[in-house]
Amino acid sequence: METHIAKRVEIVIEAPLERRLAEALNTAGVTGYTILPVLGGSGRSGKWSREGQVGRAGMVAFVCLIRPDRLDGLLDAAFTVVDKHIGVVSITDAQVLRAERF
């Protein structure tokens, strides 16, 4: 099956910033992403867990598949939001089916 080169960007970011990151991506022309829930984790700011939380606590994970030439725009957009916040950004080489969608 024919596949096309793409980048898979994974952004783990604090839940209260979810709307902002979505808007920043939108503004940068990135309209395709998937948001995964996160149960808990550990990092420089310590351990946390979603269990029993009432507020908008914890992190969520954005996964974006994107054409390689659009990566920089995405990262710039993401960086304005992630910058001072708790969160990590990683990029992986990937291939996608149906390239016209990205």
């Binding site: 839940a15 209260p16 902002r20 029993g52 939380q53 009432v54």
Partner: protein, 325 residues
């Protein structure tokens, strides 16, 4: 004094407080007892809906009296001003940065609705009536403190930013909308509406509150365990001192406004309590440099249990003495 102690004692031996203690003990002992996030959120939605609705019904029953507007104004004032006071105290007592101090201050200007609910329970147990619209006062007190805190940071040369969407986000956050909305529904449908759903929002209320406090205990305990060493004695002292100062101001304002004994106690509790749901989320957006471990531990790990166990009976006793009620 004896009476206060016995009041505090009998307050401590309630299923509500003991459920909180159980949760805290379980977390400190590192039990794997947890309440699923969805269930905890479901319970908080239930509690907000029920407390708002009942408040609205009370207003529809007793009518809007002259003190309502003044109480709302008093609440607004408290929420705007208390962060300034809290900030000043924190700068004296602790070595927190301006940003951290402002973030903590925002929490103490805002309110904890569960502490409010627990106080309502205690009043009911002692057959002390309170104005139904105190729920609306609680709602108006949620947000202003955030603005004061951002102003404090800006003044200190920090970079708290009130960006476009933030104000709407703060004012329309889920708990305010639900509390005010349920209040409105209660006010519109009145006693008749209450009758239809009281088997849901009145009878099982205290039981749900127990399980919710079990969860709060679990979270508070886990937070305490993980933030060992983050807080100095000054900060912990603040978390006990500030509620007392807040409640004293609340007492004064409540008398000025002309609230009943019950209403005064509730205003004291609102002033004394610190947010741990709405404000933390807003701080992550507006003051990301502030350390969440500090404000969450103080608010949920120290002030919340203090109010729940000792604070409420203390404020009630103080109000009774001062008003002679």
């Amino acid at each position: 004094m004896n009476e206060i102690l016995s009041l505090a004692g009998s307050n401590l031996v309630s299923p509500i407080i003991l459920s909180f203690a159980l949760g805290m003990a379980a977390a400190l002992a590192r039990s794997d007892l947890t309440i699923p996030e969805a269930v905890a959120k479901g319970m908080s939605i239930y509690l907000l809906f029920a407390i708002g609705f009942k408040g609205g019904v009370a207003v529809s029953a007793h009518g809007v009296d002259a003190t309502l507007i003044m109480s709302l104004v008093a609440g607004l004032l408290l929420s705007f001003i208390m962060p300034l006071l809290a900030f000043a105290i924190l700068r004296v007592l602790t070595g927190l940065t301006a940003t951290d101090a402002a973030a903590v201050a925002a929490h103490y200007g805002s309110i904890s609705i569960v502490t409010f609910v627990a106080a309502t329970s205690v009043l009911q147990g002692r057959m002390i009536d309170a104005e139904g619209y105190m729920v609306a006062v609680a709602a108006v007190m949620e947000a202003p403190a955030i603005l004061s805190a951002l102003w404090l940071v800006a003044r200190s040369g920090g970079s708290g930013r009130i960006e476009p969407g933030l104000m709407r986000e703060i004012l329309l956050n889920g708990s305010i909308v639900l509390l005010v909305g349920a209040f409105a529904i209660g006010a519109i449908t009145g006693e008749k509406g209450l009758e239809e759903i009281s088997a849901f929002i009145v009878s099982p209320f205290k039981g749900v509150l127990c399980l919710f406090l079990l969860d709060m205990g679990l979270i508070a305990g886990r937070g305490l365990r993980q933030s060992k060493g983050v807080l100095g004695a000054g900060a912990v002292g603040f978390a006990v001192l500030m509620p007392m100062i807040g409640s004293a101001i609340g007492l004064g304002l409540g008398m000025l406004v002309g609230l009943s004994l019950g209403g005064i106690v509730l205003l004291m509790v609102l002033a004394a309590s610190a947010s741990y749901i709405a404000v933390p989320a807003a701080m992550r957006v507006a003051l990301p440099e502030a350390n969440p471990a500090i404000y969450l531990t103080l608010s949920l790990g120290v002030t919340f249990p203090f109010n729940l166990t000792l604070g409420i009976p203390l404020y009630l006793a103080a109000a009774q003495i001062v008003t002679g009620g």
